[in-house]
């Protein structure tokens, strides 16, 4: 290093020393000399931060009608910690009672009838809520704000605040799909805020007492629906007077995004109504007379629960999804009581919150035969040689079904020897019978589907299991391809997986629950039962519908879509959801043709009992007071199912799609399931027939939201109308058609119970539609 460099380095050193000295000098100056003056500013300084919650996004139906909205309510709650502090323990029981009595009096006086016992019950049930804060009344008069605010000492722990809550204008319609909200739990709060980035102004923050989506769309789209809370930061002096707003620290709240669903509320309501009526019919139909007086009584058809699903098979869009029994999500608003929550989850009352369309697992019964038929006809690496040496052609040759299937002696011997080693002779039977030993003649695979012969499919399954020259789990592999045994990919919370039983599965299931499954080895009967949708074969209604959608659209497995779009509060589209392909099944025309024919015949093949399509009666029931469905206009392919459940009445199924036309893709695929009801063709198929008939050939009536109902009522009650003109005069028109002829009473229709008879002629009243750009809605007759 030469001298010049050394000199330069020294120069740099001097600069550094002087800079650092300057820092220390300035520090000294600030902290000792200027200390007194500036420190006094610091003393008075205080910031007050007020967080303003953002409004949650709306949930809209496919036409843009709001299905879930918000309103601000005044909520009264009791802070238990504060109450315990002021009136601790049991010795102040009487003072507490006195306080609660006064509270109940005030609440009742303001218009919300409240009993002391209600308040005590709410406090006792506080186990579910966090922070020891119990909501005792929602939506009380805002005047109470001032009242309680001024009397903090008289009402220890009583808090009153303004809060935004959900409103469900259509009540229980689509409740399962929409889902409900509840108070955020500590672990949810933690995980939701864990990847919160302070520097990102759009980051969504959750607060301690936020509500959060717990099920359905509310849960699935939580990230979109939740808004970004705003904050107002004020500088206040010692006496809490606001000096100025700190704009640079403040932020306006940003409303959450809206979610537009694929369902239409009118269609959804129609489906729910028909499902409920179908169950009612099943309940009210007397049981079949016993063939033999000594037979045991058949299980009672309770028909207390069911599900119906309607999809677009080409896009996977869910057009309607119903589960029965249902509940009113308004019950969850402002916190639900423990007793009520338990009742909604209680199995004895049918667990109304359970969304049976995705959470119910049922034996599919004969509806599964489509899968078995697909497996049998699809050429595999090791072909199925039994029925014919000509491959697929073998299934097109007619043969007779004597009412049972007997495994040939040579194969049966193998079976008997193998199972004998394990147990006695319980599973050594080589004979599988049809229900009631029903016989069928001249069955090819097509007709076997149409008349739903069990023996035909027993034979296929038994041979798969016993013959060494092909894969024994061919049917199960086909089921997996159709989407059974795993999530459909709808994204809805709590979707059940169903079960595609295999040997491996049985071993694992036995290890987990030996008493339920009884044995850990596979027998031919397992394959045989599985092939006709019995045994351990379990599906969800959505899975089954989606499997038929795959067959209907030519082999594309689509994940069902619940949402069309995500929009901002100003209706700018953020995201659009299209068809999501998650798999495919090879369905060649040679296979599709006969199977489709079989499904069409199940609906339209007439003939004597036993040779008639199993759903024929449901679509040709005008003689019995039902409908004759215009099948030539809208051909429907479908399959009934009657699944046996140990000790209960059968589950009734009907699955299908339409129209089946060469020039037009199918528009609807649907499934109907009625628990503990009876024959699928008799109880489930009519539900589908009625829904489709109304959907296609009649006008599905508009459902009125709570607001619209209120408007209609106000129109009918001019006294109330004139009392408060400002509230309604802008939004409601009174169309004064004098004595319009009544347009109802078109068809004397069905045997359905509770047909709404409406013929009361009067002035027609209309109210605005729920969504803009839609025609006004006519008020229903009173």
């Amino acid at each position: 290093m030469n001298d010049s460099t050394q000199l330069r380095l020294r120069l740099i050193g001097v600069v550094i020393v002087s800079l650092m000295a300057a820092l220390v000098a300035r520090l000294w100056f600030l902290q000792s000399v200027e200390n007194a003056e500036l420190a006094s500013i610091a003393e008075g300084n205080h910031l007050k931060e007020v967080l303003t919650p953002a409004s949650r996004g709306l949930i809209l139906d496919a036409q843009g009608r709001p299905l879930v909205t918000n309103k601000r309510v005044t909520v009264v709650s009791i802070d238990l910690a504060e109450l315990d502090r002021v009136l601790p323990g049991k010795k102040n029981e009487s003072q507490r009672l006195d306080m609660l009595t006064r509270l109940a009096t005030e609440l009742s006086g303001s218009g919300r009838l409240t009993k002391v016992a209600d308040l005590q019950a709410a406090i006792a049930a506080s186990g579910l809520t966090n922070l020891g804060k119990v909501t005792v009344a929602t939506d009380v008069s805002p005047e109470l704000f001032v009242f309680f605010g001024e009397r903090q000492d008289d009402f220890p722990g009583v808090q009153i605040e303004s809060k935004s809550v959900r409103v469900y204008p259509y009540g229980s319609i689509a409740a399962h799909l929409l889902g409900y909200m509840g108070r955020i739990e500590q672990k949810e709060l933690k995980s939701r805020n864990s990847n919160f980035n302070v520097d990102d102004p759009t980051a969504k923050l959750y607060l301690n007492d936020d509500d959060i989506g717990k099920t359905g769309i509310e849960y699935m789209f939580e990230d979109e629906l939740h808004g970004t809370p705003g904050r107002d930061v004020y500088e206040v002096d010692r006496s809490q007077r606001v000096i100025r707003r700190r704009d640079e620290l403040s932020r306006a709240p940003v409303a959450g995004n809206n979610v537009k669903l694929t369902i239409d509320i009118n269609v959804q309501q129609k489906v729910e109504q028909e499902l409920a009526r179908g169950l009612q019919t099943a309940r009210e139909t007397p049981p079949e007379p016993k063939k033999n007086p000594s037979d045991p009584d058949p299980p009672e058809a309770k028909a207390s629960a069911g599900s119906a699903v309607l999809l677009d098979p080409m896009t996977g869009d869910i057009l309607a999804m119903a589960s029965y029994p249902t509940y009113d999500p308004n019950d969850f608003v402002g916190g639900i009581s423990v007793a009520k929550f338990n009742a909604l989850n209680d199995k004895a009352s049918g667990a109304p919150v359970l969304n049976r369309a995705i959470q119910g697992e049922y034996a599919p019964g004969s509806t599964f035969k489509l899968v078995t038929a697909m497996a049998a006809m699809t050429p595999g690496p090791r072909d199925y040689p039994m029925l014919s040496s000509q491959g697929i052609g073998g299934y097109l040759d007619p043969k007779d079904d004597p009412g049972f299937y007997q495994i040939p002696a040579d194969l049966c011997k193998v079976q008997r020897d193998e199972t004998k080693k394990e147990t006695g002779d319980e599973f050594t039977s080589c004979k599988f019978i049809n229900p009631d030993l029903a016989r069928h003649q001249g069955l090819d695979i097509s007709k076997a589907l149409a008349v739903s012969s069990d023996a035909y499919f027993y034979e296929i399954a038994a041979n798969y299991d016993l013959r060494k020259d092909f894969d024994s789990e061919t049917i199960q592999m086909m089921a997996e391809k159709f989407g059974f045994g795993h999530d459909t990919g709808s994204g809805l919370r709590g979707e059940a997986q169903g079960v595609v039983p295999t040997e491996d599965w049985l071993k694992k299931a036995y290890a987990a629950a030996p008493l339920v499954y009884g044995r850990n080895y596979w027998v031919t009967a397992d394959t045989v039962q599985m092939a006709v949708g019995q045994g351990n074969n379990l599906v969800t209604p959505l899975q089954l519908t989606n499997a038929y959608a795959t067959f209907a659209n030519g082999g594309t497995v689509l994940a069902p879509n619940v949402a069309k779009q995500v929009l901002t509060a100003d209706n700018v589209v953020v995201r659009t959801f299209g068809p999501r392909e998650v798999g495919s099944v090879d369905i060649s025309p040679e296979i599709r043709g006969p199977l489709l024919n079989g499904l069409l015949n199940a609906v339209s093949l007439s003939g004597p009992e036993g040779d008639r399509g199993t759903a024929y009666d449901a679509f040709h029931s005008i003689a019995k007071g039902g409908i004759d469905f215009a099948l030539d206009e809208f051909p429907i392919a479908g399959k009934t199912g009657t699944a046996e459940v140990q000790g209960k009445a059968d589950s009734a199924w009907f699955v299908g799609f339409g129209p089946v036309k060469p020039e037009e893709p199918p528009r609807y695929v649907f499934s109907v399931l009625l628990e503990e009801s009876g024959f699928g063709g008799r109880f489930a198929a009519p539900v589908a027939a009625f829904v489709l008939n109304d959907l296609l050939f009649k006008d599905v009536p508009d459902v009125l939201s709570a607001t619209q109902l209120q408007q209609c009522q106000d129109l009918r009650n001019p006294a109330a109308f004139t009392r408060e003109p400002s509230k309604y005069d802008k939004s409601v028109k009174k169309t004064t058609t004098t004595l319009a002829p009544s347009s109802s009473t078109t068809s004397p229709t069905t045997t359905r119970p509770a047909v709404v008879a409406a013929a009361n002629a009067g002035p027609r009243l209309t109210v605005p539609a729920a969504a803009p750009n839609m025609a006004p809605i006519e008020c229903p007759p009173p």
Partner: protein, 381 residues
């Protein structure tokens, strides 16, 4: 026998023996400042109404761990071999800086960060050590000119080399980091032996450029306000003078002994914006007082003294210029960041090395220390 064979393995004598020449005081001083800094971040952020009290400290801790590993790796790498990597590093850097303008995350009106999940990367920080090595390599590459003052042409090329990345950084806009490059370049040019009249010309150009930037429309009004508020506090908008006023109030509030750890009323009330990043010294000043503040500055001085010494004993001009570049960078950042909170420097976002919250800054600072260690360890070889 086996042992003696092993001991003759060249790698053992050559590479690993170098660690004997490492400078522990450099590491100890860095570590002490880092520890103090982390404590200050905790104090500044622990009562966030929203995030967990340890949110910032955990993330900073992770960055420190990565930084220390990076420092070790850089120190182990022979700095003379860095010369070969210079073109690659330079163009890669330009790519990153251009990329962040397009794909970067916009935060506080500046597009300076790449966002990977919850991790943010600030390429302008990365640019600092890279440009130090690039400049040092540029001035020392040629045997023929070694020992002679650089020509005008050479200086102009160097200006262009620095100008490109600085231009990109100004586009973000990140004025503070751009200023750091001015200081780094000046220091390296001085060490490269530039003639005094050339240095004077460069100084004039820098002054002119700064004036041009301040008077033209390149900057938003608020940026100008921030830069000039320390000259004319009454004229500046309330919003800008607020930052400065609150920071000074905080420091004054500390007095000689400080309010005590976690007891600063300004800190707890979070009156100083960005108090965990650029304004972190206000927390030190308020809670630890003059004693703590002077201690921190003293620790920095110890660090600078050691680095100055290392520059003096470096075995070649390349090494010496690297060390001086790092030294200039750190000195300027310390002076600017601390000076800003006390109102003797303009308000512009520059992190206080080892102390401010920010992963990119921590990691590049440790990498720079790694460079200095590498030069120091190889002073005899």
């Amino acid at each position: 026998m086996t042992a003696s064979v092993l001991s003759r393995v060249p790698r053992l004598r050559g590479q690993d023996g170098l660690w004997r020449y490492i400078d522990p005081s450099l590491i100890i001083a860095s570590g002490a400042i880092t520890a103090l800094g982390t404590l200050m971040i905790f104090s500044a952020t622990r009562n966030s109404p929203v995030l967990s009290p340890t949110y910032f400290v955990e993330r900073q801790g992770a960055a420190i761990a990565i930084g220390i590993v990076v420092m070790g790796v850089v120190a182990a790498f022979d700095y003379r071999k860095l010369r070969e990597l210079v073109p690659l590093a330079y163009f890669g850097l330009l790519g990153l800086l251009a990329g962040v303008l397009v794909f970067g995350q916009k935060v506080n009106d500046a597009r300076a960060w790449f966002q990977f999940g919850s991790i943010q990367l600030q390429p302008a920080e990365l640019a600092k050590p890279i440009m130090i090595v690039v400049l040092a390599a540029f001035f020392t590459g040629d045997r023929a000119t070694e020992g002679h003052p650089p020509t005008v042409r050479r200086l102009l090329v160097a200006l262009l080399l620095v100008g490109l990345p600085v231009g990109l950084i100004m586009r973000q806009p990140d004025l503070g980091t751009a200023l750091v490059f001015g200081v780094i370049s000046t220091a390296v040019v001085i060490m490269a032996g530039a003639r005094p009249r050339h240095l004077l010309a460069l100084a004039l150009m820098l002054t002119f450029a700064t004036t041009a930037v301040l008077t033209s429309n390149t900057l938003d009004a608020y940026q100008k306000d921030r830069l000039t508020v320390f000259i004319n506090p009454d004229k500046a908008s309330e919003r800008v003078s607020y930052n400065l006023e609150q920071a000074q109030v905080a420091i004054s509030n500390g007095g000689i002994a400080g309010q005590g750890l976690f007891r600063g009323s300004q800190t707890r009330g979070r009156f100083v914006p960005e108090q965990q990043t650029d304004f972190i010294f206000s927390v030190v000043g308020e809670e630890l007082g003059f004693v703590g503040g002077a201690l921190l500055i003293g620790l920095f001085c110890l660090l600078f003294l050691r680095m100055w010494r290392i520059a003096a004993v470096a075995r070649d001009p390349f090494g010496a210029q690297i060390v001086v570049g790092v030294l200039a960078m750190l000195v300027f950042q310390v002076f600017q960041s601390i000076g800003m909170t006390m109102g003797i420097m303009p308000i512009t976002g520059i992190p206080l090395p080892f102390v401010s919250y920010g992963g990119s800054s921590i990691i590049t600072t440790y990498a720079s220390i790694g460079l200095v260690l590498s030069v120091h360890m190889r002073r005899f070889s």
